[in-house]
Symmetry: C2
Subunit: 222 residues, 2 copies
Amino acid sequence: MDTTQRTDQERSADRRRRELLEAADRVVLRDGPGASMNAIAAEAGITKPILYRHFGDKGGLYAALGQRHTDALLDSLRAALDAPAERRERVEATLDTYLAAIEARPQVYRFLMHPAEGAHPGDQPGEQPADQGFDVGKHSAPLLRRMGEELGKVIEERLDLGPDSQRLARVWGHGIVGMMHAAGDWWLGERPCTRQELVRSLADLLWGRLAAAGDKVGSPGF
Amino acid sequence: MDTTQRTDQERSADRRRRELLEAADRVVLRDGPGASMNAIAAEAGITKPILYRHFGDKGGLYAALGQRHTDALLDSLRAALDAPAERRERVEATLDTYLAAIEARPQVYRFLMHPAEGAHPGDQPGEQPADQGFDVGKHSAPLLRRMGEELGKVIEERLDLGPDSQRLARVWGHGIVGMMHAAGDWWLGERPCTRQELVRSLADLLWGRLAAAGDKVGSPGF
DNA sequence: CTAAGATGTTACCTGCGGTAACTAGGAGTC
DNA sequence: GACTCCTAGTTACCGCAGGTAACATCTTAG
């Protein structure tokens, strides 16, 4: 049967692919993002062209690598978001899960947050410089986008937001993820407080303490 | 007097520097981030080594270039934040100012948000692979950091947040900036609604509507 | 007139992403 | 067994980027 054959070959290819991904993982963990294809190939004990045969180009490898971690992180987040508890507790648990993840493996986290780098793959020197302004967008890392989308869906599923609920939920999804990301990034760099404190502060922000706070006594400008 | 001399030279150097920066600006506006040093030099009518004499390396040029725009944007934001109006109005005005800016010049915005790229400038092949885990942090764009810090200061100056006010203010500063950035980036890519709608949705989020919303009828999981 | 010092050049090095062309080693068919 | 095909693997190269060394030139001070 050639099904057996093909299955064997497929399995072999998949195994190689996974081995290569694990090697790449090790290199990224060691060298951070920007790890070179040469380095990855060397770590895997082979040479560059094989990587290119398996993943097309660097973007392909990085996408495959990123998806593994992204999937794993998203699973953790979903678990925290689905825990049977009060909303505030779930929010705090989710924030804490994310922060614990980036704290545990900062290199991986840095790697995931990197955009795709070069944006002119098929850039031919045509004489028309007309592309000035569009073609932008989606500069952010895919992880952020995916987290934002997923959170938006969860919010829309579970909360009653009246009319415009869909728009509101999506905006909030991306907004909250961005808040979490930026605060986490800053926190990771400066370590100004404990994780617990950071989580509570962010949850307080989401809980409307900004709106509820009173003006300071000598507050300028009205 | 050699003061006059030096002043003349300094002025000349500064003028060149500004000219070069403006040329670089044009190139970045046209080619987006990742504009090459060759391209910038060509646009300025000179060759690479001059750029390197003026700015040291690519990071230096990009830093100088970034600071101009960052300063300009921060000025606009401060103005919106200082307007004589209710807090909610000021918050909305600030969000709108930021979004209008990134909407008006997406290429510049993309450029500003890019980190410093390469992280191994003086990488010597020492046999000690011991740097596994630290040295991370500050992966984010300087613009985000600066905005976060500034907003944190403003919040701490003006709001009465009880004890922990300093930590709370800084966390919120970075968190709100991140929210604004992520939502703006997503919005710029997909244009799912008007700017007004986005601004109101984000302000609603900051105003605690997330906490105030009721559960949906068939809400799963408790 | 000469010497210094900035301004600018050409020509080069390194390292990266990416590819073309070639070489084993099995499986399948006659 | 010889012939082919396919896959994993190699070496050697291209183009382009960032970055630098060494040389040329103009201006200005002494």
